[in-house]
Symmetry: C2
DNA sequence: ATATAACTGACGAACGTTCGTTAAAAATTA
DNA sequence: TAATTTTTAACGAACGTTCGTCAGTTATAT
């Protein structure tokens, strides 16, 4: 399907140059057509963007939900560290995550509302799942007993910081060192000695 | 000085809309002049942008260096948590930090090299200072004895995650909860019981 | 033959930029 | 001090280019 090729090229340019910096002619050229031909597949730039956004959301959401659904949930150390690895893999495997991150935090002004809606939706779902997991681990005595929000938010913070490092991303060693450091300290901070 | 007014308006629009999304006519209108008049003060859009960038860098750098220079350095818990507060204050007091963050991670493609140079410069300087502090605290037995890079990077990770939350920033309560959670877990992870 | 999807051509609008000009302020000279 | 020159900072008009979009036409495929 040609629509998917267009979305793929659009994803690339939106990610690199942002909404305003990406031009339809560049996107069309990447696919090998004229920019006017895009209008046979999408109503316009906004429509194309929102389609890419929804694809990115689905990639992001299903990957994360799927991970926690097929994890045994009896070993928080393995499960949580595995989640960090998943983030890194996702980021390096497809462009969707970087696109998602950019648009989450610096959305085009006139689409901010629509974007924020989708972002909040994912955020809430992931947070709910994480809280359930942490609560179970706390009840099992695997994680320090305290308000469940504390380890949850702290872990989400680790995820965020790693994503930032991935975006920054010109230094593989630095990335690995930062992951190791954040994980070591986090785990020591939430687990029993 | 009119140049400063222009830079102020430019900072605002660059922060909200990014380099490509900010237009000289909007910036000029904010100041109360025509876009052509900007060329009496700056060579062009790039020149204006780079001037704003350098201002932002100076704000960012001097604030951080100054904080650590006038801190007594005998109480890591107070000093480090104070640094987090500084970040939050800086962010909410002036627009420079948000601008800096946006351009650090999503720079306009044709200025990426120049921007990365400045970003790396700050990053290295802050890292060096933090490592010195942590080393001293480790030697004094105030922080767990391990490679100094571990608490340093972990702390920088906490800073990053808070900055992301600040950018996201439509929820003051969530921000405070995230700071509290990240700090609690971090501190438990690097300090002795 | 009926869609679908590509094309050409053209549109108004906005972009960053350059030009020549004007009026006021500052510096220099008589 | 008064007259002159230079500098500064704004302007309107226009440049060439690119933008997103729309209309009409041709080619492709079911």
């Amino acid at each position: 399907m040609k629509s998917n090729e267009i979305k793929e090229a659009a994803l690339k340019y939106f990610t690199i140059h942002g909404y305003e910096g990406a031009s339809l002619s560049q996107i069309a050229e990447e696919v090998g057509m004229r920019k006017q031909s895009i209008y046979a597949h999408f109503k316009g730039k906004d429509d194309l963007f929102l389609n890419v956004l929804r694809d990115a959301k689905e990639t992001e959401l299903t990957s994360k939900l799927q991970y926690f659904s097929k994890v045994d949930a009896e070993n928080p150390e393995k499960d949580l560290y595995g989640f960090l690895q998943l983030i890194v893999d996702l980021f390096q495997k497809n462009e969707h995550v970087k696109f998602w991150l950019r648009m989450s935090f610096f959305p085009p002004a006139h689409l901010e509302k629509a974007i924020t809606e989708e972002v909040v939706d994912i955020e809430e779902k992931v947070q709910v799942i994480l809280e359930e997991k942490f609560q179970a681990w706390i009840d099992d005595g695997l994680i320090i007993k305290e308000e469940v929000i504390t380890p949850t938010f702290a872990f989400l913070g680790v995820v965020d910081s790693i994503m930032l490092e991935l975006v920054y991303g010109n230094d593989q060693k630095r990335l690995n060192d930062k992951i190791a450091a954040s994980w070591t300290v986090f785990w020591r901070g939430v687990s029993h000695k």
